[in-house]
């Protein structure tokens, strides 16, 4: 297993390098001269030339890339052109907010998917099953930014008493209750699409498990239905669900860009969205790389978990 993880990590290096080259080139393609943004009001050619030299932007692209990469591996992603703050610092400052939002959304999504998905599979073709199937179809097609606006409209403006505020963020350490109150609507918005995907996967893998021989054996030896579902079917059905949940990490990262923008949440998604029109390329670059690396690592974790959960899967023998 250790060997497998190491091999996967090694294989990640060339891909990660390609990712960084891609982002580096992309950001340099961006319209507008970052030096002008950096210089602000001062348009003196000498100052501009000086800033260009200082930022290393007068060098050829491969040299700029090598310099940038050697700094990036030590965690130096440059400074924000707008705020002059270190990019890594700007990201790590906002990361807890994004992680809190993402984990809450994931928790909502997994809980609903587990409960409703199991019930829908056990009571196949019931009203609940029909409702959950319709929800999954609608959930993957509904634009999350519109869902966010509907939730704001209903809970912040229409329902009397403003149960949930339309946006903003309060740190957990300042006021835990207010933190949760402000987190409900964005987390629901972010969770909607992944709940639909997880629910569909949960239902279909349970249905598949129900058709297996070991379930018939469990029933035949007189086990109670609840025990059959929990001990036998659910345990096996969860394996593909873990993969799907792992893949939802990507959906949650991209959803955070939009959800944080709608709800004015100071996470890394909003940081990037605000940096785009300002031409703040180090920040955009930093956040995009950060998203890509997190997504790659979460895919790796899923693959490893897959092997841990299912003893039939052995990566050692799959080498050949």
């Amino acid at each position: 297993m250790t060997q497998y993880i190491l091999r996967r990590l090694l294989l990640m290096i060339p891909v990660a390098l390609l990712v960084t080259i891609g982002i580096f080139v992309l950001v340099r393609l961006a319209p507008g001269d970052p030096v002008l943004t950096y210089a602000g009001e001062d348009r003196d050619p000498a100052t501009i030339a000086h800033i260009r030299e200082q930022l290393g932007l007068d060098q050829p692209l491969p040299v700029q890339y090598a310099a940038w990469l050697s700094r990036a591996v030590t965690g130096d992603l440059g400074r924000s052109i707008q705020t002059k703050q270190r990019v890594l610092e700007a990201i790590t400052e906002r990361l807890p907010v994004t992680i809190e939002l993402g984990l809450t959304a994931l928790a909502i999504s997994v809980t609903i998917a587990l409960i409703v998905g199991t019930l829908a599979a056990v009571k196949r073709n019931s009203v609940l099953d029909l409702l959950s199937t319709s929800f999954t179809l609608a959930g993957v097609s509904f634009p999350n930014f519109y869902l966010g606006l509907i939730l704001i409209l209903v809970f912040a403006y229409i329902v009397p008493g403003r149960i949930f505020p339309p946006g903003g963020f309060t740190p957990f350490t300042t006021d835990p209750l207010e933190n949760l109150r402000r987190l409900v609507l964005p987390a629901l918005t972010l969770a909607a699409a992944s709940t639909a995907v997880n629910l569909r996967q949960m239902r279909s893998s349970l249905l598949e498990a129900f058709s297996q021989d070991y379930i018939r054996t469990a029933r035949a030896k007189g086990l109670g239905e609840r025990l059959v579902i929990v001990r036998h079917a659910l345990k096996n059905a969860l394996i593909p669900v873990v993969t799907i949940i792992g893949l939802q990490v990507g959906a949650i990262i991209e959803g955070a860009f939009i959800t944080e923008t709608i709800f004015f949440i100071p996470g890394i998604g909003r940081l990037a969205v605000q940096a785009i029109p300002a031409g703040d390329y180090p920040v955009v670059q930093g956040v995009v790389i950060f998203s890509a690396i997190s997504f790659m690592l979460s895919t790796l974790v899923v693959d490893v978990l897959y092997a841990v959960l299912d003893p039939r899967i052995s990566y050692e023998s799959a080498k050949a």
């Binding site: 982002i23 950001v27 249905l207 991209e254 997504f295």
Partner: protein, 296 residues
């Protein structure tokens, strides 16, 4: 467990083709439902200039923020523009971005997949690492990064969404090619000296089209949703041109005043369009490609 489908021989007359199509649709009613939604969308997009009751960008402040009524089916925005007309016109943006970006992704992805699968070796190795790199990004984040770099324009949104779609086609095609490459008819074609390009285009490609049709339909759903998200973030077509995502973004400022109708039209339109393509894609997958069928 369903009984294995028996081969059906249909005479190649026009009447025969129509009846077999009818038979196919009767067996797969979901294709009919999804297909109808998609057909209506295409019709609306094609005829928007003729069926839209008002000019979508004409400002008429005397009619500002009028709630839905018989004169303005979906109400008007703060500049008095008819929301219904903007929704109809917006379908042109969404569908054209959807179709063009899917074509870009299709052409690039299928070419890479065919070449990587058939040629193998170094080309395959390099191409697949590039595909892995593209897959390392959450799809929308990559689309945002590309559009942000190229500039907020509709053409750039198309390119961005097209590039994001490449890995899906490339991997699917490569996988299919690898499974077909060793089959007898390919070996036979090679034995009689058919050139590689001819083998790929005449013998391999037709065998992967079913899976690709499904992929393209589902990718269109993603493309429409992604375009709406990009426009919502200000990275799509620029005002005053109507676009569903951008109109929803614009409506945000009137949310506190309970002017819900400004976003309802475009919001429901996005949902219907994405739902239509997703529904059609799922139905096509079940009908055309039983290997990819999901259980349940």
């Amino acid at each position: 467990m369903t009984a294995p489908a028996l081969p059906i021989v249909v005479p190649l007359t026009r009447a025969g083709r129509t009846s077999s199509l009818r038979w196919f649709l009767r067996r797969n009613p979901r294709i009919l439902i999804g297909g109808t939604i998609v057909a209506i969308l295409l019709f609306v997009a094609a005829t928007a200039p003729f069926i839209a009751p008002y000019d979508p960008i004409k400002v008429d402040v005397s009619q500002a923020l009028v709630p839905p009524s018989l004169t303005h089916l979906l109400g008007t925005d703060d500049l008095g523009r008819d929301v219904f007309s903007r929704v109809l016109w917006g379908s042109r943006v969404s569908l054209s971005v959807g179709l063009i970006s899917v074509s870009i992704g299709f052409l690039l992805g299928v070419s890479i997949g065919l070449a990587a699968g058939y040629l193998g070796g170094t080309f395959d190795l390099i191409a697949m690492r590039v595909i892995d790199a593209l897959l390392s990004f959450p799809a929308l984040v990559l689309a945002i990064a590309i559009t942000a770099a190229l500039g907020p324009q509709i053409q750039n949104a198309m390119i961005a969404i097209g590039i994001v779609a490449v890995p899906g086609y490339a991997r699917l095609t490569r996988g299919q090619v690898l499974s077909i490459r060793a089959r007898e008819f390919i070996v036979a074609a090679r034995t009689i000296g058919a050139p590689p390009l001819r083998i790929v285009l005449r013998h391999i490609f037709p065998n992967v089209t079913n899976a690709l049709v499904v992929q393209a339909t589902l990718a269109t759903a993603f493309a429409i949703l992604a375009e709406a998200a990009l426009s919502f973030l200000g990275l799509g077509p620029q005002p005053p041109y109507p676009s569903w995502g951008q109109d929803i973004n614009y409506s945000q400022r009137y949310l506190a005043n309970l002017k819900w109708w400004m976003s309802a039209g475009p919001g429901i339109a996005i949902f219907l369009a994405v739902f239509g393509f997703n529904f059609l894609g799922d139905a096509l997958r079940d009908a055309l490609d039983p290997r990819l069928r999901r259980s349940g």
